[in-house]
Symmetry: C2
Subunit: 505 residues, 2 copies
């Protein structure tokens, strides 16, 4: 029997096999699609591509919901084809980003744990087609996801119809690694019975309503590889600074050498910071995150991480080959969960996560912008950072102190957009040090942030702003007419650095 | 036996009775105090006052933690005496506010559910003395709180020593109304077993470590009455607008006529909005809140609310007399809980609260400022609004569209401080209407907010800003150099309204 047929273990379902083009032809103007895929992993690949091809000869628009970002260049192709009316809840593609910032498509950027609540309660448009990648359909009608779970469970539950992409490029050994749990409606919900990172609380697959399965498409295409860059000198120093902070927590008796379950956001900086734990004294670590990147597997290989839970696995090419071809070596150390569960506030608070996410910029009082370049242009979206930062035991944000060769300071007087308020930010880390803001009044935070986190070339300018603000007083002193002047300078003169009085606004 | 003695039902403890002055004399320079009290209710009254008196002849400073705001003018007296080094986590006093804004005392303004986590895990200064008002100490060593629970349980658990104020002005009938539950450390914590507003999950009082009880003070003083003003025409219209929104949710099938458990913040506007439900079709309502104000009891009396849970009860003089003298009529309809439980994210999300809080201002994209006047001056603090807004089923913010006779618009281009990001704000309500922002991209929100919420006299000015911003593009269009100009105009010219070009910056 052909490899694909073996994966479809309910014989009648094999009659539903169609070409991607045929499946794509069912999708009509104005429909809402729920696609599998989270941080490039486990995304539906063939049907979205066929849909893009259809757009060569036909004008239509659809709403596209996903777990998080897609791989396979799908978001770029969607944006180029102009077929997306609304994109929910996260993307990370340059072309799509441009379309969003031009207002050519609507982007509803919200907390990743929120999408399933809104689908369940009918707040956002109902899903016409769920298009879900799977490694198999079991005898008892379970869809076994591949390298991500994302929102696939919610999509399958609530979509009117389901299209499945059986992808044989993924090993069938993923079966048994997932744990699918679906909360009831708010008001009828019981406590989520998860108290440890390795607790299994659900089923190994997504229970399918077979009546809703309209088509099955056969694919053989590996996930897009991760775009992270290896740690560099600055991110290595950032990691060392983070470790210094964690060490001080151990010394203070608030953590042990096992720390607490770690969450780390997507991207090179977050990966590099986790990577730094390899050479630390911390051991027997656990990860409870929305995505696992290369560093987590390095830590597992080194015996530093004993268990890791996430909604997706996004790896570099080399790491994919190593992990995906040796899944048996990892299967007792991994669980993949719906993003609703990986990002569920109740669990994040209960487990007391140490949450590490990346900031675009933060201000001298500890407010964090993680989405909007100069307050207006969307980068990727808030993703799960808010789910974690708001509920974690320790909410840590990392960033390099400057960008664009020094023309952008990541530490500013007043962030141009707030994704994480001063109330939700515990510790800031750059390559210059860390600032532990817990329990401090705003005026107490300023010195720590400037001295420990800002790049030296911006410190004087930050102090000048603060001293001018202090003369005006207030719990959180500001010179409102200059608060955003750093961003204005960047827009008008290409740099936040005031090199002469002449350049000042 | 004297009324006080009857309330101290362990005989040996009666030997610990001291004067407030003696108890206050134990407090040393640099100590940290944990005082009972939440929104003026159930506050420790005599020892704090004696401490203030001590300051007439002696210089010292202490840290003051509470549940939330104190009554009895304590925060004013503290500020006038200059004896507070750090105040945590909420206050609402004019004199203390002034001291905070002058930098004369440190104010650590954080989510009300956060304080117990930080106390438990040793993040903030440990508590030397817990000073807790009680209506009784039971035979089995339970402290029975009075009109608030606030942080008293955490304070009692973690303080080195405890001073109890037995207040006979409160009826002993409060016993049995409280429900005290204390979560374990993060990482060792089980799910909080509360799935309904009326679930009892703990003990009727605070289990005391009798070794730690150092003194008992006898008092007879009623709580300070609430400072709320009765509903006015504008708040009545706001209530009607909120009801119109809720009705549309029922129509859409997302709510029933029983709605969902309601949370409402402190203050006249929040009270007025709840009051509006009296004449609505909604019935069999439940309240799960941090504070119950007059309106909740009106709703109970009218048979509209079947059950109410909170961390405190703060009433007007008339309402106090009515409720406190007839507690038997309410006791099967009330539970008072620690603020950690009333505000616990897990429970808020599980129950799916409808959360109604007051904004100082919000912007055309839905970011809310609830603490800082013109971005710098602290009003009261974020309180529980973030606990609720971030986790509720519906996060609603209400405010009058203008303040200061029209010189301040509550709808601005860019809020001068962010307490609740666009991601945590579902619905905005003013006396002009409501804007339902769920699922909308930023550009879609603008029109709704201006047309439905802004005062007509500011709409043109808001549109002018937005159109200028639109020309620059971006996911969230802004004219950064003018973004805060409304606040600057207010500071410099006394009004946000641009009456002539000359007044423009």
């Amino acid at each position: 029997m052909d490899a694909h047929m073996e994966r479809i273990r309910i014989e009648e379902l094999r009659n539903l096999i169609v070409s991607p083009e045929e499946a794509a032809s069912w999708i009509k103007e104005g429909m809402t699609l729920g696609l599998s895929g989270f941080t490039r992993a486990g995304d539906a690949k063939a049907v979205p591509l066929a849909l893009v091809k259809r757009a060569e000869n036909e004008q239509f628009k659809v709403n596209v919901y996903t777990g998080a970002s897609l791989g396979s260049d799908t978001d770029r192709l969607f944006a180029e084809a102009g077929i997306v009316k609304k994109r929910v809840p996260f993307q990370a593609d340059k072309t799509m980003r441009k379309a969003i910032n031009e207002g050519a498509l609507l982007f509803d950027d919200h907390h990743l744990s929120q999408t399933p609540e809104w689908i369940r309660s009918g707040v956002i448009e109902p899903i016409d087609y769920a298009i879900l990648e799977a490694v198999a359909i079991t005898e008892d009608g379970m869809l076994i996801p591949s390298t991500s779970v994302g929102n696939s469970l919610s999509f399958a539950k609530h979509a009117k119809s389901i299209i499945i992409e059986i992808n044989t490029a993924h090993t069938a050994k993923w079966e048994g690694i997932h744990d699918l749990y679906y909360p009831a409606f708010q008001g009828e919900r019981i406590p989520i019975p998860l108290t440890k990172t390795d607790d299994r609380i659900g089923s190994v697959g997504i229970p399918l309503d077979l009546e809703k399965v309209k088509g099955i498409v056969l694919t053989h295409q590996m996930d897009s590889e991760s775009t992270i860059t290896p740690p560099d000198h600055e991110t290595e120093v950032m990691a060392a600074n983070l470790i210094a902070f964690l060490r001080s927590e151990v010394k203070a008796g608030r953590l042990t050498n096992r720390l607490a379950p770690l969450q780390s956001g997507i991207g090179s900086q977050a990966n590099a910071v986790l990577h730094g734990l390899l050479d630390s004294e911390f051991e027997d670590l656990e990860v409870y995150s929305e995505v696992l990147q290369d560093a987590v597997f390095d830590l597992i290989d080194a015996g530093k991480v004993r268990f890791a839970s996430s909604a997706s696995i996004t790896l570099s090419k080399e790491k994919m080959e190593k992990v995906f071809n040796n899944l048996d070596a990892y299967r007792d150390k991994l669980i993949m969960r719906p993003q609703e569960i990986s990002n569920y506030p109740e669990i994040i608070r209960r487990l007391g996560l140490i949450s590490i996410n990346t900031a675009l910029e933060f201000d001298i009082y500890g407010n964090v912008n993680s989405t909007h370049v100069t307050g207006t242009k969307m980068m990727n979206g808030i993703g799960g950072s808010g789910d974690f930062a708001r509920n974690a035991r320790l909410s840590i944000f990392v960033t390099k102190s400057v960008g664009k060769g020094g023309d952008i300071s990541s530490v500013v007087p007043f962030v141009s957009h707030v994704d994480h308020t001063e109330h939700d930010v515990d510790v800031l880390v750059t390559e210059y040090g860390y600032a532990d803001l817990r329990g401090l009044a705003p005026r107490q935070r300023v010195g720590l942030i400037i001295a420990n986190c800002a790049h030296p070339m911006y410190r004087e300018q930050l102090w000048a702003y603060y001293y001018e603000a202090l003369e005006r007083g207030g719990h959180t002193p500001h010179v409102l007419e200059k608060a955003l002047s750093w961003h204005v300078n960047l827009q008008q003169h290409g740099s936040m650095l005031v090199r002469s009085e002449k350049q000042r606004i």
